[in-house]
């Protein structure tokens, strides 16, 4: 049975009014289950919590991956150690520059300036500024899970809560199909997701790292030439 036909079967069951399915599925040779005959949960039918939670989980995962990419960048570009693994960072990667400097005694000095590579590059650190999720779900089944039922039974035995003492139901849902522009049902079942990504503010730890990197800039006199001696 395809997802399409499973959705139709469930919708028929929940509707329960004997109305024929209207979602334009294949329909050929599919026998609609009788009322009270709930289908087994299928891959497209999840608990409502899972359905809502999955895209949110994906957002958190995406942010974690972004943070890991930033960390890998810092390791591979900013340090001399092997940037692939999580082993030794090695030393700060320093770029060396040369400059001429006139000393206090009038002599010309050649000075080496060491600057950490990390302070020369923009460090990519992206974060999700805001996310807009638009779900269209169809509740296809309500059930009380056995484990939940046991917990509820225990609670109810101790103290009956609520006016009826009914256990809370778990909702099962599937993504509902979008209405097409011409009034026909579309075949798309989508979660609309709109994200705004921005360069993250520099985290405190990273700012500290850059400050430390900056402090490790150094200058060494390479050679000293006496002006008179040169002339």
């Amino acid at each position: 049975m395809s997802d399409d036909s499973s959705e139709k079967a469930v919708a028929t069951d929940i509707g329960g009014g004997g109305q024929p399915p209207t979602d334009g599925g294949d329909g050929g040779g599919t026998t609609a289950p009788t009322p009270r005959e709930l289908p087994e949960p299928q891959s497209s039918v999840l608990s409502l919590a899972q359905l809502i939670g999955a895209p949110i989980h994906a957002l958190v995962d995406a942010e974690a991956q972004s943070a890991m990419a930033t960390a890998r960048f810092i390791r591979s570009v900013g340090f001399t150690g092997n940037g692939d693994g999580m082993g030794d960072l090695g030393e700060l990667q320093m770029a060396r520059f040369k400059r001429r400097h006139r000393g206090a005694d009038g002599s010309d000095e050649e000075v080496e300036v060491q600057i950490p590579l990390l302070s020369m590059l923009p460090i990519p650190a992206l974060q999700i500024k805001d996310a807009e999720l638009d779900y269209t779900v169809k509740i296809v089944q309500t059930e009380a899970l056995p484990q939940r039922q046991a917990e509820v039974d225990q609670l109810m035995a101790a103290k009956r809560q609520g006016p009826t003492g009914e256990p809370p139901a778990t909702l099962r849902a599937t993504f509902a199909r979008e209405q097409g522009s011409n009034g026909r049902r579309s075949v798309d079942m989508l979660v609309k997701m709109k994200l705004r990504i921005e360069q993250a503010d520099m985290p405190g730890g990273l700012a500290q790292l850059l400050a430390l990197a900056s402090e490790s800039s150094s200058q060494d006199v390479l050679a000293k030439r006496d002006e008179e001696g040169d002339g």
Partner: protein, 92 residues
């Protein structure tokens, strides 16, 4: 000395912010401080590993920089077009 702004370091002589253009560092051009005239030149022979890493970063981000630059250019062109429309709008 702080260098929390990437691409800028305090000048080693006068501590004014000194921009380090990556192209100039990679090509070995002298980078001059606008404050004191100090000139810095990358030492290729002693910075081999660092310059290689910098070169890899520069190559890998070339496309992103081009895209960002074209996006900025088209945004600027849009602003200019809007401004010129405002200027040329006839008065009643």
């Amino acid at each position: 000395m702080t260098a929390t702004q990437p691409g800028r370091i305090p000048c080693p002589a006068c501590s004014q912010p000194l921009a380090l253009p990556i192209e100039a560092v990679l090509t070995g051009q002298a980078i001059a401080c606008a404050g004191c005239g100090l000139e810095l030149t990358a030492q290729r022979e002693t910075s081999h590993e660092a310059l290689n890493a910098l070169g890899r970063w520069y190559e890998e981000t070339a496309e992103a920089r081009t895209t960002a630059a074209s996006g900025q250019a088209s945004a600027a062109a849009g602003q200019t077009a809007k401004a010129s429309r405002r200027v040329t709008r006839p008065r009643r």
